[in-house]
């Protein structure tokens, strides 16, 4: 894990440094296309009735990679964001370590079009968002019930409000975004988080989605909101500071509440 983190950070900072090079080839396309490479701090809170009736929290690392394509009239973003956290509670002690390791993958596709503009400085984009969420949790203290997961493939409306602001002699963009999945295909573990070890043909991966269903917001309420500040570099490359709040409550045989606060810095490489 340390090696992966090191390589990721090395690529990130190497990209940022070279982005200031004026010899860097520029995009000749009419639209703006970016590779996004980011790293962030993830702060998670969780209350999972499949594990216990205790609220867990913890921090972890959140790299991200994505593609952004934008024109004057549309904004399109594809983002892959894994996060790795270790959650615990204030009730944990050395004798009874209460720990849950989470590996969370989010794959988002967002397509927005400009619906309103005020004075060329304030633009409202609206459209749709498709999001794949898979959150695998390991609570070793539960032995055979230790693997708990939340899966949701969702679609719903999304919107973004961009405000152009001049800062440090550059045209920067402050943005507020919101996404609200309405229809989802979700899966959670069976009752008691059982994995059928007794069955010689037991296939945990194959069984992951066998307990799935299509639901609306009453069974999978998720809200993703974010604030970002994009600062232009040379060669149309950009640096983006962001804060994202991603909350969901998923209900199957029991409920899970999970919230992630993500503070990130991303380098947007124009191509």
């Amino acid at each position: 894990m340390k090696t992966i983190t090191f390589i990721f950070l090395a690529i990130f900072f190497a990209s940022v440094v070279s982005a200031q090079d004026s010899e860097f080839p520029r995009s000749k396309k009419s639209d703006n296309r970016y590779w996004l490479l980011g790293v962030g701090l993830s702060i998670q809170n969780m209350y999972d009735e499949g594990i216990s009736y205790v609220r867990y929290k913890g921090t972890g690392i959140a790299p991200s990679i994505g593609l952004i394509k934008s024109t004057e009239k549309k904004y399109c973003q594809f983002l892959f964001q894994p996060t790795f956290n270790k959650l615990t509670t204030e009730r944990s002690n050395e004798l009874r370590p209460m720990a849950v390791r989470t590996t969370r993958f989010v794959l988002d596709y967002q397509y927005l079009v400009k619906v309103k503009e005020w004075d060329k400085k304030l633009k409202l984009f609206a459209g749709g968002n498709a999001s794949l969420l898979f959150n695998l949790k390991t609570a070793e203290q539960l032995d055979n019930s230790q693997l708990v997961y939340d899966y949701a493939l969702s679609i719903g409306p999304a919107a973004k409000l961009d405000k152009t602001v001049r800062w440090n002699k550059r045209e920067c963009v402050a943005a507020i975004g919101l996404s609200l999945p309405l229809l989802s295909h979700i899966a959670r573990p069976y009752y008691l988080n059982r994995i059928e070890f007794i069955d010689p043909e037991n296939n945990f991966l194959g069984d992951l989605f066998s307990n799935s269903s299509v639901v609306t917001v009453n069974k999978n309420f998720r809200i993703i909101s974010g604030l970002s500040f994009t600062y232009p570099l040379f060669n149309k490359n950009e640096l983006k500071l962001g804060y994202t709040w991603d909350f969901y409550k998923m209900t199957t045989i029991n409920s899970v509440y999970a919230a992630e606060h993500l503070i990130s810095i991303s380098f947007l490489s124009n191509y």
Binding site: Y47, T89, D143, S145, L192, P200
Partner: protein
């Protein structure tokens, strides 16, 4: 400044929403911990009907004995006492400073196993392949001792042991000794069964808890072994030795042996453990394990309280004193 204030306001509102929506942790006091423990077992334990246990009556007995002035140790002792009513070795309360176990399933019965005798008089000159200790008895009977299903053996290790015995001219059979094997992973049993199966073989059927009601179960699901096709196989007779300390995955192994006509089970009844262990965490950080399924043989016999041997044999005190394992000696006569 206005913009910054606006953005901070939005962020604060979002954080407040989360605090309002997400439930707080349940109280970690003794009464709440007891209530959660009782309720967890009530909703998840699989053998209430089979064992004819009135769990509500158990609540009425123990609830008045719990109060928030108790120490953690006192609470642990009371909860453990309550859980022992279930008479299930898969039910454990784990408090960190101690873990409760029910072990009368073997303490109330003769051991029928003396490792010293086996080491000194039967395993002398043994070979070790992974967790499998093996040797030849009387020059023509293979003997394997497997002490824990928690110790996995690989396909190659099993190949090596079976190849050894297959290469011995005039081999009469193999004794597979799983006495004092407390269990582990049933997959280690299936690896062995694949080597002796000649056709798809139904081992047992399992139904899992799928709801909070005492009789909320899935349909029975069959555990079927498919014969290995490209691995070393063994086609001869096998005698499996058992005692009361043969528990959990070992109990499943012995139950599976019933499906093979070439296997004879000799010794004492197994200790049981026929439910899949399941866990949940209590509000104070303790955790509880309990059985969450029911497994039965194809003929309907539930294996929770153990599997009967085909030939019941006990270790005779006189033999033991003379360094003889009565059960192994009886097994040798079956080839």
């Amino acid at each position: 400044m206005k913009k910054i204030f606006f953005l901070l306001t939005i962020a604060t509102v979002l954080l407040s929403c989360e605090k309002a929506i997400m439930p707080n942790s349940e109280s970690a006091d003794a009464e709440k911990t007891f209530e959660t423990l009782w309720q967890t077992i009530d909703r998840g334990y699989s053998f209430f009907e089979y064992k004819n246990i009135d769990w509500n009556a158990i609540y009425q007995t123990y609830r008045p004995q719990i109060n928030n002035n108790m120490t953690g140790r006192e609470l642990f002792n009371k909860c453990s006492e309550m859980l022992n009513v279930l008479k299930d070795g898969h039910v454990n309360l784990r408090a960190g400073f101690s873990t409760s176990y029910y072990n009368d399933f073997y303490l109330n019965f003769p051991a029928n196993f003396n490792k010293e005798i086996i080491d000194r008089n039967y395993l002398r000159g043994f070979e070790v392949t992974g967790p499998l200790y093996h040797t030849l008895l009387s020059g023509n009977i293979g003997y394997i001792y497997y002490g824990s299903f928690a110790s996995p053996y690989t396909e190659d290790q099993l190949d090596a042991v079976l190849t050894r015995f297959n290469s011995i001219a005039g081999l009469k059979g193999i004794i597979f000794d799983v006495r004092n094997n407390p269990g582990g992973n049933p997959a280690n049993a299936y690896r062995f069964f694949e080597r002796i199966a000649t056709q798809n073989t139904l081992l047992y059927k399992t139904k899992y808890k799928n709801g909070p009601g005492h009789n909320d179960f899935t349909e029975e699901q069959e555990s079927i072994i498919e014969p290995a096709t490209d691995k070393v196989k063994y086609a001869g007779k096998i005698v499996v030795l058992t005692n009361r300390k043969c528990y959990s995955a070992c109990n499943f192994f012995v139950a599976g042996c019933k499906a093979f006509s070439q296997i004879t089970i000799v010794g004492d009844q197994t200790g049981g453990g026929g439910g899949q262990p399941t866990g949940f965490e209590l509000p104070n950080g303790w955790s509880v394990n309990f059985s969450g399924s029911i497994t039965s043989l194809p003929n309907g016999f539930i294996i929770e309280n153990g599997v009967l041997p085909d030939i019941a044999v006990s270790l005779s005190p006189a033999d033991e004193a003379a360094g003889i394992d009565t059960i192994i000696e009886r097994a040798k006569t079956l080839f």
